[in-house]
C-alpha cells in the first residue's frame, strides 16, 4: 500500500514540474489536470471518498474552464532566461522551508493514528446526535456548519465579482459614454480664463 502512495506522490510531483516547465499552455493545463486526478486516486486509497469525489469533479470543471478560456488566447512562450538571483533566492527559501517542515513534522502523530479526542468524540456520537450516517456530512453540516456558511459566502462573493468584472454590457449607453473625453482636452473644451470671461461679459452687457 505504501508503495502505491509513493508512486502516486512521485507522479504528482512529476506532473506539476511538467505543468510549470511546458512551453505550450494547453499541455501545461492538461498536466495540471493529471495531477488532480492522481491526487483524487490518492484520496480514495487513503479512505476519504468524499474528498475524492469533490476533487474529481472540481478537477474536471477547472480543466474544462481553463482549456475553454485559455486556448483562444494568443499563446506566447517565454524565451527570456530567468534571473540568477531569483533562482538562487527561491532555492534558499525552499531549503529553509524543507528544514523547518522536517522539524515541524517530527511532532505530528504517526500516519493513520489520530490522538485527538475531538475526532473520537465525533466518530462515536455523530450518528446519534446528528442522524447522518455519513460522519463527514454530519461534521460539515451540523458541528461545523459555520465553516460551510463561510465557504458558501466566499463562493457567492467570488461569483458576484466575476459577474461584475466580466459582464458584457456596461451600465451607460455608448453615446453617453462617448461624450466624456479622456486624455488631453481640445482648446475649445478648456474652461475659459478669467479675463476672457470678463471681456465676454463686458461685450454682452
Amino acid at each position: 500500500m505504501l508503495f502505491l502512495f509513493y508512486t502516486l506522490l512521485i507522479f504528482c510531483i512529476i506532473g506539476s514540474i511538467i505543468a510549470i516547465e511546458a512551453r505550450n499552455i494547453l499541455a501545461s493545463v492538461i498536466s495540471a489536470g493529471v495531477v488532480g486526478m492522481a491526487l483524487s486516486i490518492l484520496f480514495l486509497f487513503l479512505g476519504a471518498p468524499d474528498i475524492a469525489i469533490t476533487q474529481v469533479v472540481v478537477e474536471i470543471i477547472v480543466l474544462i474552464v481553463l482549456i475553454r478560456s485559455t486556448v483562444s488566447l494568443d499563446n506566447t512562450a517565454i524565451t527570456k532566461h530567468r534571473d540568477t538571483f531569483a533562482i538562487l533566492s527561491s532555492l534558499i527559501f525552499f531549503g529553509l522551508f524543507l528544514v523547518f517542515a522536517f522539524m515541524a513534522f517530527q511532532g505530528l502523530p504517526t500516519f493513520g493514528e489520530p490522538i485527538m479526542s475531538v475526532g473520537r468524540q465525533y466518530l462515536e456520537n455523530s450518528v446519534n446526535q446528528t442522524g447522518a450516517s455519513n460522519v463527514v456530512m454530519g461534521i460539515l453540516m451540523d458541528y461545523r456548519a459555520y465553516d460551510t456558511l463561510g465557504e458558501a459566502t466566499v463562493i457567492f462573493t467570488a461569483i458576484l465579482g466575476a459577474f461584475v468584472v466580466l459582464r458584457a454590457k456596461g451600465k451607460k449607453k455608448k453615446e453617453e459614454s462617448d461624450k466624456i473625453r479622456v486624455g488631453i482636452p481640445e482648446k475649445e473644451d478648456l474652461p475659459m480664463s478669467l479675463d476672457q470671461i470678463e471681456t465676454s461679459s463686458d461685450s454682452t452687457s
Partner: protein
C-alpha cells in the same frame, strides 16, 4: 451549425439525463453516502457545461439564462442563511430543529438534507454562471471591440 458534430450531440443526448440524475442523487443522499451538496452541484453544472459545449450557447442559455443563474445563486445562499436563522426557534444559530428519525433513512438527519439541497442549487447555478461569464461574455466583448474597429 452551432456546437459540435452529430456524434457528440447524440452521445450528449444519451448521457445528459444520467448525469443530472447522478448529480441530484449525490446531492440528496449526501448524508448517507459520500458526496454532498458541493459535489452534486458541480456535477449538475458539468451537465449544463456539456450541453453548452455540444449544442452551443444558445440552447443552454435558453434552458438557464445568466439572469436566472444569478437568481438561483442568490436563492441558494438565502435559503442556507434562512435555515441557519430558523435554528433560533429552537434555541441557537444552526440548530438542527427538524426532528430526526432512525438512521440510514432519507429524512433521518433533519436540516442536513435541506442545507445540502440549498448548497447544491447554489453551487450549480454559480459554477454554470461563472463558466458562462469566463467563456461567452469574453467572446461578446471581443466581438463588440472588433465591431467598433470596423
Amino acid at each position: 451549425m452551432e456546437g459540435m458534430t452529430f456524434i457528440v450531440k447524440t452521445t450528449t443526448k444519451l448521457l445528459i439525463g444520467i448525469i443530472f440524475l447522478f448529480g441530484i442523487y449525490i446531492t440528496f443522499y449526501g448524508h448517507l453516502t459520500p458526496g454532498g451538496g458541493f459535489a452534486g452541484g458541480i456535477m449538475l453544472a458539468c451537465g449544463m457545461i456539456l450541453m453548452t459545449l455540444a449544442f452551443g450557447k444558445r440552447m443552454s442559455l435558453g434552458k438557464l439564462s445568466d439572469f436566472y443563474a444569478s437568481l438561483l445563486d442568490n436563492l441558494g445562499a438565502f435559503t442556507f442563511w434562512t435555515i441557519a436563522m430558523l435554528g433560533y426557534i429552537g434555541g441557537y444559530f444552526f440548530m438542527n430543529f427538524i426532528e430526526k428519525s432512525n438512521p440510514f433513512g432519507l429524512l433521518s438527519s433533519g436540516t442536513i438534507l435541506t442545507i445540502n439541497i440549498a448548497i447544491g442549487v447554489k453551487v450549480f447555478a454559480s459554477v454554470f454562471a461563472v463558466f458562462m461569464a469566463l467563456t461567452i461574455f469574453g467572446r461578446f466583448v471581443s466581438g463588440l471591440i472588433s465591431e467598433d474597429e470596423d
